[in-house]
Homo-oligomer: 353 residues x 5
Amino acid sequence: MARYSGGRRSVGAPPGTIEYSGEQRVDQIRIRFFDYDEERLEEKEVTSIEECFELRERESVSWINLDGLHDTETIQSIGNRFGLHPLLLEDVVHTTQRPKLEEYEDHMFLVLRMLRFDSERKVIHSEQLSLVLGPGFVISFQEIPGDVFEGVRARIRSGKGRIRKSGADYLTYALADAVVDSYFVLLERLGEEIEEIERELVEDADPAHLPRIHHLKRELILLRRSIWPLRELLSGLIRVENPLITDRTQLFLRDVYDHAVQVVDTVESFRDMASGLQDLFLSSVSNRMNEVMKVLTIIATIFVPLTFLAGIYGMNFEHMPETKWSWSYPVFWIVTLVAGASMLVAFRRKHWI
Amino acid sequence: MARYSGGRRSVGAPPGTIEYSGEQRVDQIRIRFFDYDEERLEEKEVTSIEECFELRERESVSWINLDGLHDTETIQSIGNRFGLHPLLLEDVVHTTQRPKLEEYEDHMFLVLRMLRFDSERKVIHSEQLSLVLGPGFVISFQEIPGDVFEGVRARIRSGKGRIRKSGADYLTYALADAVVDSYFVLLERLGEEIEEIERELVEDADPAHLPRIHHLKRELILLRRSIWPLRELLSGLIRVENPLITDRTQLFLRDVYDHAVQVVDTVESFRDMASGLQDLFLSSVSNRMNEVMKVLTIIATIFVPLTFLAGIYGMNFEHMPETKWSWSYPVFWIVTLVAGASMLVAFRRKHWI
Amino acid sequence: MARYSGGRRSVGAPPGTIEYSGEQRVDQIRIRFFDYDEERLEEKEVTSIEECFELRERESVSWINLDGLHDTETIQSIGNRFGLHPLLLEDVVHTTQRPKLEEYEDHMFLVLRMLRFDSERKVIHSEQLSLVLGPGFVISFQEIPGDVFEGVRARIRSGKGRIRKSGADYLTYALADAVVDSYFVLLERLGEEIEEIERELVEDADPAHLPRIHHLKRELILLRRSIWPLRELLSGLIRVENPLITDRTQLFLRDVYDHAVQVVDTVESFRDMASGLQDLFLSSVSNRMNEVMKVLTIIATIFVPLTFLAGIYGMNFEHMPETKWSWSYPVFWIVTLVAGASMLVAFRRKHWI
Amino acid sequence: MARYSGGRRSVGAPPGTIEYSGEQRVDQIRIRFFDYDEERLEEKEVTSIEECFELRERESVSWINLDGLHDTETIQSIGNRFGLHPLLLEDVVHTTQRPKLEEYEDHMFLVLRMLRFDSERKVIHSEQLSLVLGPGFVISFQEIPGDVFEGVRARIRSGKGRIRKSGADYLTYALADAVVDSYFVLLERLGEEIEEIERELVEDADPAHLPRIHHLKRELILLRRSIWPLRELLSGLIRVENPLITDRTQLFLRDVYDHAVQVVDTVESFRDMASGLQDLFLSSVSNRMNEVMKVLTIIATIFVPLTFLAGIYGMNFEHMPETKWSWSYPVFWIVTLVAGASMLVAFRRKHWI
Amino acid sequence: MARYSGGRRSVGAPPGTIEYSGEQRVDQIRIRFFDYDEERLEEKEVTSIEECFELRERESVSWINLDGLHDTETIQSIGNRFGLHPLLLEDVVHTTQRPKLEEYEDHMFLVLRMLRFDSERKVIHSEQLSLVLGPGFVISFQEIPGDVFEGVRARIRSGKGRIRKSGADYLTYALADAVVDSYFVLLERLGEEIEEIERELVEDADPAHLPRIHHLKRELILLRRSIWPLRELLSGLIRVENPLITDRTQLFLRDVYDHAVQVVDTVESFRDMASGLQDLFLSSVSNRMNEVMKVLTIIATIFVPLTFLAGIYGMNFEHMPETKWSWSYPVFWIVTLVAGASMLVAFRRKHWI
């Protein structure tokens, strides 16, 4: 049901109703809290969201990372604490949003999609990542624990690079960048799948390739729907004039934007290639059919007339002079062989064999 | 006739002629009247439109909901009472408009389409919903009684949420939101239909799938025509600078806009998928034909030459030495079986069996 | 020749050469003259254009309607009288223009196309309608007498509606509106043709459908070329800032524009549907071929091996022990029937029958 | 080589190198010189370009027309005399440019393509026409002598129309107009070719149609590439604000622009139609195959079982009671004829015959 | 892996990490250094980048050309010396960027792709070229030594043309121009490949053409992805307002832009043509199948009924009067020949032979 439901609340519920639309995929909500500036780093895994609020008192960057969205109370209390708009909270829990960027009075809201390729079932899994960027804090909401942010966390911990010296906007950039980077892994996998099918098709087309190509095309349609709005989102983020985003970070955002454009380009190329595979498949099938038909026709053209000839001399007319002649039988064989051989020559001339 | 007639008056009639273009689908026009502010709610079902005018004297939000459009007198008297432009009234009764937004001097006019999926006949029913938003009032015109507004009515009655505290613009938003939300239900149904066809096609393509796919594609063409302009409409509504729409409501409208974009995206994806189904069907048919042809060719290639051989020894030549030899018959059988078996081996090598 | 010639004068003729490019389709040029204001109406059919000029002296709206374009002298004298640009007159007589809007210093020039569906030959006839809107006058040029303006004339005569109270711009609107309205009739016809072909195709595809579909697609290509620029034209007319067009009329033009957009939308949908019909046709043909091949294969698979068996026992070897056994013949029949029956079972299992 | 080389100088040559990229198609460069104003006309065919410079001293319009581009010295000396940019001269001699408009400080540069349809080989020949418009002069460069300007020359000589009363900008217009007008002739020819193929296809598809359709599509691809940029060029020319182009000429340019748009539209329609022809061809082939297969299947279905029956009674079993009965043979014939007839009835019911 | 990886750093590495993403394709980094003004030229091949810095002290144009990107230290030290942004350096070493233009505070960054056609394997090789344009210097980074700049170097050495009199912006133009020019060579090769396939297909379609066409389409998809952004890049370069680029150079950039547009146009045409080839191939295959089927059907239609007839007179019924008649056998032959001949006539009438 959820696949096309577009983050919609139950029919009749007022807007701003916070009600998780996905399946409850985690047992226990999990909150990880980072608070850092250039000198200091505090990392904590808390059980109740209130603990974060206590911690969050200094002039530093706080990153609250929530895994699991079924606990609407926690989400509501975060909303109250940070003054988030009810529609924003509704979008967080309705996890089939398309990527989008929304500016509110004193915070920004980003919806991204984390994509993962299940190599076994050749299916793309899509998970919603909601990011809230406010003055000095970033809140990220995920549906299930696993994510692509281990690199970011490592950089925060190690204190290498720009991240500890920069603000919440840079952290947002780093998270978006990690998401976009992970798309390239996905594209590699898909590219390999395309090349594999292609290689097999050139060798020998098989009915089993058909559902594989169809499945690939379908996944690309869904992938495109997830990725296309991303370009728009990031281009909006570059052009936005908002004190939350510093000029220095803009430069980095331009870089993610470039990557996103490249991802979109690649998906488009993949779609073209998948269409090419379909054409290749159909042409292969036609070719094969042609080959089959040639075999049939060659056999028929050689043997049907000869069978007719044999049939004639199998007739029981009393007055058939040839049947009495002693050299009839060898002549029959000679005629047969000459006819067959000249047929073969004719077929070769027509390039049928 | 009405399917493509685009809300056109009878040829020769002057513009602004109010003449219902649909079939008269209700026996009796039905008027429901809501008048509310934060404290007070009045709900009435009236028989004559004048009753509403009497009621409508306070500083509150009035919602007049008309079911049935054949009674042109009532519609004309509403038009007179609220100062609606004749072209607006004409659009109300010509029920094949595309969604559009029009600004008049002191009111706005929205045409939306309510869509309903008839699961049995797999047909999308489309009904025109006309909304007039003026200062302190909303008038909604429907062709037949059933609608998607029960949730909105419930929220007005219960007084929960924002609706009782907000103005007529918020009510308009709520109605538009209910319409767009109902599209997701439709999309779910269509998505299920696509997946069902797909599943069946992968298993076994059947000529009966062809009209189903064609029908699906056709409904998607019509659906797209209904939904595509909606995006434009809502994007216009967001950008409009009109005192009728408050800033607070703009934020909510942005949300409906997002949903509409998602609906449009999904319809596009569905169209791609339906094309994919068509390709899958055609490829399946080709595959099957190939299989059929292989069977035929195998049979012919094995038995036609052997039949010829049998035909030879059925000839009545008097001088056929082989017929006299006592081991001819068993040799014939051996030759036959060896030839047949080696053919089978050859076919297996060619991956035909 | 004229079909694609784009309103071009003879090669080498200077621009502004007035030379009718169509066939002379009327014997006698026909001029109808309306002159009206709110109180007064004068309607005349004149034989020479000069009569109109005499009449045209008051503060009223004049509508000169010309049928037949071969009489270049008359057209030239109109041009001189109203100060029309030579290129405008050239466009009037070259009757394969695409719809366009041109602003001259003190008049506007519109080219529209009147389309008519010849139900018998299923062909769309296209006629050029040129409109000149100047202060207090409208001149309309048609190739042949019949038109879609009877409704407008009736409204002028009856004095009902706005038309007698409004200026020349409203008359222009009324004429454009009548033209666009007539497209809906055309679309109805085409829609019915599409539905008829579809219904027949689903029942039973026939080679005769092929040229019908092809013809339909071709007419849609030509129709689209006539209608597509109309949208642009009308959108230009809405945005134009010209004292010739009053604000009040703008509102009405917006209405025609909406209709034109709907026409364009519908033509696009029809094109999609016609492509769908082509696909449906091709798939049906493939399906049928499949069916035919199955019949052939079933027949061959059952009888070819059995014929071979019969052939064996028709051989004239002297030493064939089976031929002497008295139960050989009934056994042969039993084997034959069992083999045939099991084949049929196998085919049913494969869903071939 | 030159077909796709895009007006490129030899690799390594500096930009502005003047080196003719086409084949030397004329033996001798040919220079025609016109110098006129309202009163006076001087027409000359000169052998050296210096003669033109001498003549060019008055307040009049000069038109220098060069046929043949291999004489780089002459071109260089023109460039020096009129102060043309080296890149401009490079573009003149590299004759595979796409149509474009370039503004230089005191002159404008237009590249157009003259197209000619070789009716015999059904090939479109394309020749580059470079126009330089400066104050009081127009220089036109052609590759080979024949052109479409005889009408313009005749109008200059006769002094009829506007041309002698207008400036160099009007002459430029007249030349561009002549080029665009010549496209309509080309389109007529292509339209006839399309209609001819179509008519033949509807009657009877033939493998020989395939390369014809393919060739047509290919020429349309190339044609489109030549014509598409023209629209942009002319739209640029209309919007340009340059003292070289007077307001009065703008009006005429708008007219050529309209024609160019019509040409582009028609080429697009032709592409759609050519695709339609391809579809029609493929469908016809499928239809024919279907017919062929039906014949085969009907023959096989009727005769294969009967042959089997005949085969049975040709067997040499000693104990076949039927062979002794005196009415066996007529019964066999009756069975045969009844079976065959009922088969034919069944086929007719299936609409196979 | 690298094919679709889009210049991405290792997962988890901070942005600005300089880590070469390609294979290490050169053993030794190679640095060529040009420093010139109108009078003076210094050309050097240095082993360490520091040597360049020493040289670079005058008011002249310096061109540092690096072949090989695996030596990150050298690249880092260039970055430090010229104040290049870390993200820029990251882009230099991640060699699967799409063409792009980036403005930094005091330098500009261009990514171009050098394409080379491997005629043997019919594969397009793509190499990233990164250009940094700063005040008085150009730095170019290549992956492997061979390039398309020999012409530029020759012009610098010879001192002919504009190059020695112009600044670093003109050098940048010259390099970009050389790259775009080299694309035309590539397009020639592809054009020849297309024409060759086409010529062969028209003569005789072969299954071996299928992978060739598919391969061609695939290369065109990839080529398009490399070339499409180039247009945007150059159009950006023309519009950029940056003191680094003088007005005089803008004129030249406009010229490269024109060429780039032509390249893009040609690639699009090639894509259309490649689709045409696919259609041609499929239609040829269908045609051939049709031909094969006709042969089969003709043979079967003639001989199957006759064989049945022969079978009848091979039956062993005792009471078959015809077998006793003396003229039966010649009559059988006459019937056979007449039937066969009339079949052939019928087939010729149906244009089957």
